[in-house]
Symmetry: C2
Subunit: 393 residues, 2 copies
């Protein structure tokens, strides 16, 4: 394990100090004879947390994919299943490419939803697992078993999910119990049964809007309560919390807080979104993610969680410094807490996962999004000046 | 004037070719003995157009401004007037800094709204005019006389605006005739009277939402029609066109199209916005801008119009390549047409204002937003590899 002294840095934009790292963790005294890196007075923050992405399906590194997909959700899902075959997409290679891009921007841990369907079986899961092993010690990858193409209507999907969890995937996924699966009771009963069987947490994609999303959310809340899964359930996207009827939303948020259900947002500009200041006020743990990066769904995305903090700021109209700091908190401490990361932070005993960022203040770091001068994972240098130490395949 | 051959480029992502520049304009044959620059097979597009910003009030280059401003619009306007004094903000220096940042990203022309008020008089106008002169031949700057602090309620503002137009400002500005000026008839009569007197076009900030914005918009439409100012009037922001009642909005859009009134959007993620595909379908000319960049209103912004195209794409849910190309068109040809730019384009006879961009396709260029390898203004190199040839003060 790595030991070093990180001189001349400002933790969370505070006073100038030196940080000591012994055997991969922050320590309160200097490790003897270890390397010294000068941070040049820069801000240091804990490693950025990518709490929602799809490592298996990025098209990074491939020739440009011309998107001519139809407007409906089903068009995108069907197209993707077919394009994966047509392009011969290798989930191991693609996930490694995206993980390395993440690392270059200062991300030290990733929660990735990974497709499981009867067309591609466990190819995605196996590919991302191979990448996880290959990059062990450099970035952490948590896998959510994700029934992108639906679960109940496609017989055999549930069994594949069960198999993936037995193989070592960490989280049970789910998707729009009404909008996609068309069987909310069946879908959610199956998801929570898998969670109980494997003793694993849940993270469900919920794009359903307004009252439909609220209905599905209430069903998730009811099962969380019944199974005593407080603190173990995450709802990703949660567009229904962006509904116009704020009184109704406040009621949902109270129930989420009571059951300690977490929210992960990607802060999309074109969809209703949970309001992060309201979530904070309600005491709901919130994380953030990039969602898909340059895939068959859309051309955007660069895996930069500092840029995602800016997107959260722009979407939520966060302008004051304290507000922009909330956006950054979501992309660091929020995501880490949702992933139940042991020893996340910059204090003695915490894991030495951290990033130097440019800027005089945390808000400036978010607004600038300049290349990260240095990224450490367990005290080991994984990126310098915006470039990962590992070359992408 | 500059002559050169730009070898090995792909105009608008089309076939590989050479572009010839003679005396600052594209030509159909090679200029003898002129310099040759190899474009390395990259895409070339016409210069990016910043059609809505505020050059006079950016805080670029200053120590970080900690934003603790209140939530109301009036808090932001009042705070800004005071902070300008407290910081001793020099509109010449600040506008030069921002213009140089714009140039580094490939912008070759800028429409800037510039504050005129009874507190600061014409200091902003004079500062931006000085920058315009200093950067003549390197970037074009068009000045909109902008009554940020209101016009009718602050006696003396109208006279200052009149004076600024006589000094050489090109466009008559205006702001929320109801929401800020509280006197829509008085405000719009005065704005259009100035336009008539000076024979200049109009560009009005309209943040008012829903029916209130629709009312002000109808009043703008009525005056445009009455004065025969078709093609000479722009409405910036136009949040009321993002209203939920799409039938009502369609009616407004029909009237805008009839009077050839243009829309400029900044595609904010947290406000209702005009839908660019609908504007295109209605035949309404659309441009885009960065709005304020790192000012007392908010910390964001980098003056990159390729990034702005991405914001338009994200806000309007543009995913297909042809849709992303529309976003880029708005940030190039759309803005140029609104500014009535003579000779804008890549054809023989057009002004040699152009940018090399990274990426295999136009959509990839927008998604990547990589530093621009080369920017030409009238055939003259104004930026290379993301850095302007002029150093900021």
């Amino acid at each position: 394990m790595t030991s070093l002294t990180l001189k001349n840095v400002r933790p969370m934009a505070g006073a100038l100090t030196d940080l000591y790292i012994r055997d991969g963790r922050f320590a309160d005294s200097a490790p003897e004879g270890a390397e010294v890196i000068d941070g040049g007075g820069r801000i240091v923050i804990p490693g950025l947390v990518e709490a929602h992405t799809h490592l298996d399906k990025s098209l990074l590194g491939l020739p440009w994919y011309r998107n001519e997909v139809g407007p409906r959700l089903i068009d995108k899902i069907t197209n993707e299943r077919e394009v994966k075959v047509a392009l011969g997409l290798d989930p191991q290679v693609q996930s490694e490419r995206q993980a390395i891009l993440s690392m270059s921007h200062g991300t030290t841990q990733i929660r990735s939803h990974v497709d499981v369907d009867t067309h591609h079986g466990l190819a995605g899961i196996e590919g991302v697992m191979a990448t996880r092993e290959k990059l062990a010690g450099l970035v952490e990858i948590e896998i959510v078993v994700f029934p992108q193409s639906s679960m109940m209507p496609r017989l055999g999907t549930l069994e594949l999910m069960d198999e993936a969890l037995a193989l070592g995937a960490e989280v049970v996924g789910g998707i729009d119990p009404c909008g996609i699966d068309r069987d909310p009771k069946g879908h959610l009963d199956a998801v929570f049964a898998l969670a109980e069987k494997h003793g694993k947490p849940v993270d469900i994609h919920l794009h359903e809007r307004d009252a439909l999303g609220g209905f599905s959310m209430e069903e998730i809340i009811a099962r969380t309560k019944a199974l005593g899964m407080q603190g173990k359930v995450t709802i990703s996207h949660a567009f229904c919390l962006g509904a116009l009827d704020r009184g109704y939303v406040a009621g949902l948020q109270d129930q989420l807080a009571e059951q300690r259900i977490h929210i992960v947002t990607t802060a999309p500009a074109s969809a209703p979104v949970p309001l992060v200041k309201e979530l904070r006020a309600a005491g709901i743990l919130t994380g953030a993610g990039s969602d898909g990066i340059r895939d068959t769904w859309g051309p955007y995305g660069n895996a930069d969680m500092l840029e995602r903090a800016m997107f959260i700021g722009l979407r939520n109209n966060l302008r004051r410094d304290d507000e922009v700091e909330l956006a950054l908190d979501i992309c660091t401490f929020g995501g880490a807490a949702i992933m139940e990361t042991e020893g996340y932070g910059l204090g003695p005993g915490d894991r030495a996962d951290c990033v130097l960022v440019e800027g005089e203040t945390l808000a400036e770091a978010v607004a600038l999004r300049a290349p990260r001068p240095l990224v450490l994972k367990g005290g080991r240098v994984i990126a310098r000046n915006g470039t990962c130490v590992i070359e992408a395949p």
